[in-house]
Each structure stands twice: as structure tokens, then as C-alpha cells.
């Protein structure tokens, strides 16, 4: 196995593209190194992307935000202005592992590991994040919910690296929230996770909303029907009830030791309702 730590994105893409064997990007390593040690992956080349400056920054762009793919959970949660703008996304990243894991785990790694239960992903989907992806043929953009296919499988092509997460600008009365259910409060994998982001106009009517749902299908989902139930309403009880029902209807979970299918479907709706309540409260306080 070879290890490289290039300082430019072009060099990283070239290294990945030219490797004839198995190549892997290394960000925080909290998934990859575990998998390597368990011999689930045996790369010939590991390309460490943490020395590439543009992958490490959080910046405000045209009223929205750009967050580099190699930004860690700890760095994101220490960024006060970003946290005020996207508290739900920060809640998702903050739930990843212990404080030690937080020091290393990146948002790019959480997404590209393609676990359906990854905690930052439903919140990123709700936020309407658009990814910038660099590859041998140049760069492209992709809505975050379209990156993953199934557990461990992404649509990234050979040589491609997720560079940044773009968060859209939004109105003054807007916020988001993420909630997950786990048997323990720390160090556990989500049984269900729901992110809700919404925006209201001057008289409290919901003008836009998005709902992301994790751990209940082969990948995290964007639940358009749930968002539709909120848009145009005052986010009253009836609207939130319809949104919760739509979220449950979208859940396609499996039975496993952490929860039965029926339980997960029910909890998806319950969490959606609570997350919408928190997002609404936050938006009104903005």
C-alpha cells in the first residue's frame, strides 16, 4: 500500500485516476481505517486529502455558505456563524461518534462512506446542499441526495473527489433541525434520523421546506411529499400531521436488532414532527 498526501486538488485527482489498483481517499479515516483494519478494503493507494487547503475551509459566499469536504465535525460546530445559520446540520455532524471521533470525522467522509444511517446526511438533504465534485474530466455539481446509491456505494467515478458542500442563501425567518433515535444517547447508530429545514414569509406562511430521512432505506432520502405538506401552510397541527404521515409513508426500513420495521416507520413520523417543531421555533426566533 502507498500513502500520498498531495497539497493540490489536481494532484489528488491525478493520483486517484492513474492508480491501476484499488485507490481510496482518506479524510478523517474513522470509517476507512476501521474498514482497512477489518480487511474489508485493501487499497493499493491511499490519498490523504487533508493537506488540500480548499477542502478545509468554511466561507460565506453570496449569502450562502461553502464548506470544504474535509472540514471536521468539531470544526463545523466551533464555527459560531455557520452554526447560527444551519443549526440542524451542526446537530447532525455533532452526533457523529465521540469527541475523539469529532476531531477527525469529516462531512465528506460521512457522506461518501454511504451508510444509510450517516447522521449529517438527512440534515444536508433538508438543507438543499449542492456538492461540487472534482474529477479527471473537470468539475461537476450534484444535489447531495443523488450521490449515494446503497450501503457503501456512491455514484462517484474513478478519480472523483467531493470538494465542497454549498448551502443556499435563505430568508431571515428560516431554520433547520435534526433528530435521531438511538438506544443510547452517545456512541450509537441511528435507528431513524430526520432533518427538517423550513422558511417562512412575513406572516408566518411556509414558503419552502425540505425533509431528509435516514436509516430507513438503502440510502438517505429526500421526502418531497412531506415538504409539500408544509409549504403554503402556517405549519399548524394539521400540516405537521400530514408531513409526519408522508415521512412515515416514505420509510422503507428493514427489521434488525436495533428496531423492527413497524417501529421505525412510526418513529420516522414522530421524529419528523418533533424536528419540524424545533425548526419552526428556531425560525421564529431568528
Amino acid at each position: 500500500m502507498r500513502y500520498e498526501a498531495p497539497e493540490s486538488l489536481d494532484a489528488a485527482v491525478a493520483l486517484l485516476n492513474e492508480e491501476s489498483g484499488t485507490a481510496r481517499v482518506l479524510a478523517g479515516g474513522t470509517d476507512l481505517i476501521v474498514q482497512m483494519r477489518a480487511q474489508m478494503v485493501e487499497p493499493d493507494l491511499v490519498v490523504d486529502i487533508k493537506k488540500i487547503d480548499e477542502l478545509r475551509s468554511i466561507s460565506q459566499v453570496d449569502g450562502g455558505w461553502h464548506v470544504g469536504a474535509a472540514v471536521t465535525g468539531a470544526e463545523m460546530n466551533e464555527h459560531a456563524a455557520f452554526k447560527a445559520a444551519w443549526p440542524g446540520v451542526c446537530e447532525g455532524t455533532d452526533l457523529i461518534g465521540s469527541t475523539q471521533i469529532q476531531s477527525r470525522a469529516t462531512i465528506g467522509g460521512n457522506l461518501c462512506n454511504a451508510s444509510p444511517a450517516a447522521d449529517s446526511v438527512p440534515a444536508m438533504i433538508a438543507a438543499g446542499v449542492v456538492l461540487t465534485i472534482a474529477g479527471p474530466g473537470g468539475s461537476r455539481e450534484l444535489p447531495v441526495e443523488e450521490l449515494n446509491v446503497s450501503p457503501g456505494k456512491t455514484t462517484l467515478e474513478k478519480g472523483e473527489i467531493v470538494v465542497s458542500f454549498a448551502f443556499p442563501a435563505r430568508g431571515a425567518v428560516a431554520s433547520d433541525a435534526y433528530l435521531r433515535l438511538t438506544p443510547r444517547t452517545e456512541m450509537d447508530i441511528a435507528v431513524v434520523g430526520v432533518g427538517v429545514s423550513l422558511e417562512l414569509d412575513g406572516d408566518g406562511t411556509c414558503t419552502s421546506a425540505r425533509v431528509g430521512l435516514g436509516a430507513v432505506a438503502v440510502k438517505a432520502l429526500l421526502v418531497e411529499e412531506a415538504a409539500k405538506a408544509l409549504i403554503g401552510t402556517k405549519v399548524d397541527e394539521a400540516a405537521v400531521g400530514a408531513m409526519a404521515a408522508a415521512t412515515s409513508a416514505a420509510a422503507k426500513p428493514i427489521d434488525d436488532k436495533r428496531g423492527t420495521k413497524e417501529y421505525r416507520i412510526k418513529i420516522a413520523g414522530v421524529l419528523a414532527k418533533r424536528a419540524a417543531g424545533i425548526a419552526l421555533e428556531r425560525a421564529r426566533q431568528n
Binding site: 500500500m1 502507498r2 500513502y3 498526501a5 482518506l26 479515516g29 474513522t30 481505517i33 476501521v34 483494519r37 477489518a38 491511499v46 490523504d48 487533508k50 468539531a74 461518534g97 465521540s98 469527541t99 475523539q100 471521533i101 476531531s103 477527525r104 452517545e186 456512541m187
Partner: protein, 158 residues
């Protein structure tokens, strides 16, 4: 297998070592450099026994590649005491009998120091959450939490 030539700062001293890409920082510290204070519990990021500081942040050294430490600043439990003078956290762990077998202790000391550098006056809940990634199979945690809170108080000059 080609080895990598790595230069890192460990507990304030410049250290050079040769390392295979398959070795973790934990392997390097324990097996190559004889910093055996850092312990291996699980090897998968779950127990925190291998916690060290890397560039100002506490990390699980079992989930860091040895080659990644090139140019990095590493601090292990061996760097806590100042010569013969134990760190206040170490003194309080002894005073409160916050250890039994001691396997978890180096990692908990390093993680607690990282907490107190950021937050000199944590609440009990904050200490418990901060140390959620440090497992102890012996003490039942209560004495550990008391020791950290007491050390924090002493370090604030009370």
C-alpha cells in the same frame, strides 16, 4: 515493503521514525517508539484508551495512520507530568482512586486535559459527554468524573 521516513514532534521532542503504511499511530507509539503509556483497547475507535493529542486535538491513535503524523505535534500521557511533578489531573486521579486496572486511564487523562484547555469550568454533564468515548470497565465512572471536576477546580486556583 517500502517504509516511510516520518518526522514528528512528540511531547516536545523532534522524533524520526520509519513506518509502514499499514501501521497505525498507536502501533508506532507503542511498538517502535516505546511510548507504551498509550493503550490499545478495541482498535476500532470505540474505547478511547489510545487517545493522544494530535495538532491540538484529541484523537484515537488507533484510527490514525502512522504516516499521517509526518510534521504533526503529538502529545501522549508521558508528556503530562512536568519532570517529577504530576499534572493536577494525575494527582486528582490518585487522590480520588479514579482507577483500578488503569488501562483506560492514559486515554482519559489526555481527553480530560483537552477538555479543560477548552473549558476550564465544565459542568458534570459536560464532563460526562466529553468523555463518552472513553470506556472504563472497572470504576463505574463516578470517581473519574469527580477527579476531573476536582482537578478543574484546582487548576482554576480554588
Amino acid at each position: 515493503m517500502a517504509k516511510y521516513h516520518i518526522t514528528a514532534e512528540i511531547n516536545g521532542d523532534e522524533v524520526e521514525y520509519l513506518c509502514e503504511p499499514e501501521q497505525t499511530l498507536l502501533d508506532v507509539l507503542r511498538d517502535e517508539l516505546n511510548f507504551t503509556g498509550t493503550k490499545e483497547g478495541c482498535g476500532s475507535g470505540d474505547c478511547g484508551a489510545c487517545t493522544v493529542m494530535m495538532n491540538g486535538r484529541h484523537v484515537c491513535s488507533c484510527l490514525v495512520m502512522g504516516v499521517e503524523a509526518n510534521g504533526a505535534k503529538i502529545e501522549t500521557v508521558e508528556g503530562l507530568a512536568d519532570g517529577e511533578q504530576l499534572h493536577p489531573l494525575q494527582e486528582k486521579f490518585i487522590e480520588h482512586a479514579a482507577l483500578q486496572c488503569g488501562i483506560c486511564t492514559p486515554g482519559i487523562l489526555v481527553a480530560s486535559k483537552a477538555l479543560l484547555e477548552r473549558n476550564p469550568d465544565p459542568t458534570e454533564t459536560e464532563v460526562r459527554y466529553w468523555l463518552a468515548g472513553n470506556l472504563c470497565r472497572c470504576t463505574g465512572y463516578d470517581k473519574i468524573i469527580r477527579a476531573v471536576l476536582d482537578a478543574a477546580s484546582e487548576m482554576r486556583g480554588n
